[in-house]
Symmetry: C2
Subunit: 507 residues, 2 copies
């Protein structure tokens, strides 16, 4: 039986490529946190150059030679030696990456890196000034670029599928459309129930003054209790919260800060903390190889949403943390009891900004983006039409319309970064999260009590054991089946939400 | 006549290498400022990998092929075409770098990067605990490594020369020994005069409370007045102040902060600001090529010392800034007039820490290090002997002896980073600085008035024009001659200092 040690030359070469990728990640982190503005243009050139170098190595003759030693370079099928499971998975995933990368010329990759780096800077300014037209030409270039990319990737039935496959391997428009259509129907029905409910929790106090330092300190305490290691990570401020990893020993998160909105910073900290636990939970021994990489964006998002909503919006969590929160903000919460607070953070209220949306309407925000990017990719929707279409869909699904594009079509960085096909993974993450958490409750009968007493790392270890440590060894579909005994099933999400909201809203 | 545009393929390739080097610089900056501690080991691996990659490109077959198109690859002599001056200089300097780099195997470069990265982290802890023995084995490895390096570089007459040549091309032990001996004699005599003087300025008030934020704000104001662009730079805190450049549009400085020592943070800001003006003043068009790089550490240091001492410890500078300083620290300076302040910041007082030394004794600190590293390199001085020898020399030259190695042989990061041959450039910088500034006064007759009225950028533009924009086009010796009309002449430094101290101390 052959094992990973037979693949050592390949693993060392993959690690070399990873070192460039980790430098790219640091350059990007720095760009979002500390880089002086004047350095933007040179940074764009630098990102393009380094991404080009990594790409060249990924598709170069050395990689081809290495892979050809063990697999048929046309099909990816291993020579008929007996490989153990991890090695077989490693070869399968390396070939998957190679086969995708080899179709993109280095020139294309460099061009894409440069355009998206500049576009992200233009987007930041356009958003500040709520000036969609100044961003439109850049977005137009990016849409053209992504179509070019999809056609280079070739063998996919639809250009949008080719892009989705980057983020959620195996997922297709054909699977997503009915899944999302059914979900949208259920969510719209649930939203109507909520809006017709006889009672509704107040949440005005969430907009009292929550001093920044104490918000950060409280967030830090929660992150530490979850098991996020500040020895192997840090938290900074940025325009849009994100998690980035250079190695399992250096996984950084960012948050935004609003002193008059407790939800904004706290739940983004929990969210990014969940992502970060996944990155910190990868097996460092496999660093640089697919076995040391996260599986898909949907699975990544399941980790963040599990903590943000599954845990962070649950009663047991606040049974433990509410007294601590009250101690940190005695004046702000002077007249507010636990029940009222719990109602407020679970309040459903259609609003404009995805990252601040409640658990229910969040997925409707995703539908808006999914449908628009599908139209951009598959129906040649002109970029200029986006704000109009955005506002129409917001009206139809959420009943609210942004006054300005800053709160509408310009709110997310994703398209500026070329990330088309990314948005659907947010909703997939919500669905996976609910299904995983339901299984964790079955596997750990004491879980609610543990969480109620602050022993959150019991859940972290379960996630490490069941999900994190495997990296890309299994497909998302296989992983979900291995962990929960059944395929992806959206009813865990919908039923859980209906139950929680039914209690709060009295239906 | 052939020009730079004929060298375009070479220039593009050099720029590609520079992109890796700039990533290495960011990784190092991050390591000193924001990196979580747990990420240290992976960072060391990463630096080693990237430096190895850059080195491989520098010495690889593609570089050889490129160079061979225009020069004899054995001697560096251009094929007998007619090249204009910049192209000739570019080819000369690229060959110089190539010829050095090609002698160091990639394996060696990776090993060195990794050992020095770990050693710098060990040094930081050893310094904190004043524990030289815990650092000694790492330093021993580094000394062995540097000797190995010197022998690989081969054709130098002494191992120490081979290392000095990295930092100050053309400088040798043979030139340095008499230069430094004469200087030491003059400085010891001057120190004796100062110590026997009938009067001495008080400086107790420099150790009153100087709140950190206001120190940073005042430092920032001075940096802006000098012409340092915060649009293309930023200032952070680190254990040891430094300047790093990723591109002329992104040049960062760091400082340290001590609320009970005004000199420490302010003059290190001025110092790093001087370095940064040089980096920001390079011609971005030549980015990545020797024509867009700084010339030598001695010349670099001349820029920092010119601002720190030549300007920052001069009366015209404080004529302008003292009222502003008093406004920022009204209580601290309540009872202190300009004359007293000027005396205090120019007070000569032998002390333990190089970076906090006065203008005179600073060079004696350099002599201690120069003599020790020369003995390490040329006389096999055992590493364990360093603290004893250090303390003996401090006693002999400065008359003070550290209580702990944290304030003695562990105070500087240089050796941990493998930078042997670096220290002498500090004193060379002082000498160049005095000579350049004397010339600036001749070229700009109104300079003292301008500075006294806050028009510091007149000097910055002179430096841009005379020094910065040339990059490595001329040798240090040629540059000094071009700018000042004569070779390096230490009497500008000694005479200037004697005059200033004579006034203050009344001799």
């Amino acid at each position: 039986m052959k094992s990973l040690k037979d693949l050592k030359p390949l693993i060392l070469f993959l690690r070399e490529i990873q070192q460039i990728n980790s430098a790219v990640s640091l350059l990007s982190w720095d760009q979002e946190t500390y880089m002086p503005k004047g350095g933007g243009e040179a940074r764009a050139e630098q990102l393009a150059a380094l991404e080009g170098m990594a790409h060249q190595k990924k598709i170069g003759p050395h990689m081809k030679r290495l892979l050809s030693r063990w697999i048929d370079i046309k099909t990816g099928v291993p020579e008929d030696e007996v490989w153990d499971d991890p090695s077989r998975a490693l070869l399968r995933e390396v070939f998957r990456d190679y086969n995708k990368a080899v179709r993109l010329p280095t020139e294309f990759v460099k061009r894409e890196a440069k355009i998206t780096s500049i576009a992200q800077q233009v987007w930041a300014e356009a958003k500040e000034k709520s000036d969609f037209p100044s961003f439109a030409p850049y977005l137009k270039s990016i849409v053209a670029l992504k179509k070019e990319e999809a056609s280079l990737l070739a063998d996919q039935s639809s250009p949008y599928d080719a892009l989705i496959d980057y983020y959620e391997p195996g997922m297709t428009v054909t699977r997503l459309v009915p899944l999302f259509a059914a979900l949208k129907k259920e969510l719209l029905a649930l939203l109507e129930k909520v809006q017709r409910a006889p009672i509704a929790p107040r949440d005005d106090f969430l907009h009292r003054c929550w001093p920044a330092r104490r918000q950060l300190a409280f967030g830090r305490r929660v992150l530490e209790t979850m098991g996020y290691s500040f020895l192997c990570g840090r938290q900074d401020l940025s325009a849009h919260p994100f998690t980035t990893s250079f190695h399992p020993t250096d996984v950084r998160i960012t948050t935004r800060m609003n002193e008059y909105n407790f939800l904004s910073s706290f739940f983004s900290s929990l969210h990014e903390g969940g992502h970060a636990l996944y990155d910190q939970g990868l097996n460092a021994e496999y660093f640089g190889t697919p076995l040391g990489e996260t599986l898909s964006l949907g699975i990544h998002e399941s980790q963040s949403r599990l903590w943000e909503n599954g845990i962070g919006r649950s009663m047991p969590f606040w049974n433990y943390f509410y007294p601590i929160l009250k101690e940190a903000f005695p004046r702000t919460l002077q007249d507010i009891g636990l029940e009222a607070f719990y109602g407020a953070i679970n309040r459903v209220s259609p609003s404009l900004i995805r990252v601040e949306a409640d658990e229910l309407t969040y997925n409707l925000h995703v539908m808006v983006r999914f449908e628009i990017e599908r139209a951009l990719m598959e129906e040649d929707l002109p970029v200029e039409e986006i704000p109009r279409l955005w506002n129409e869909k917001m009206e139809a699904y959420l009943g609210v319309v942004p006054d300005s594009d800053a709160d509408g079509a310009l709110q997310d960085i994703h398209w500026a970064g070329g990330a088309f096909g990314y948005f659907p993974t947010y909703t997939l993450g919500n669905l996976y999260a609910a299904q995983f958490l339901s299984q964790a409750r079955k596997d750990i009968p004491s879980l609610e009590t543990d969480i109620g007493q602050g022993r959150l790392t019991i859940l972290t270890h379960w996630l490490n054991e069941k999900i994190h440590r495997f990296g890309r060894r299994y497909s998302s579909d296989d992983l979900v089946r291995r962990v929960t005994g059944e395929p992806l099933n959206p009813s865990y999400f919908v039923d859980g939400l209906r139950e929680k909201l039914g209690e709060i809203y009295g239906f």
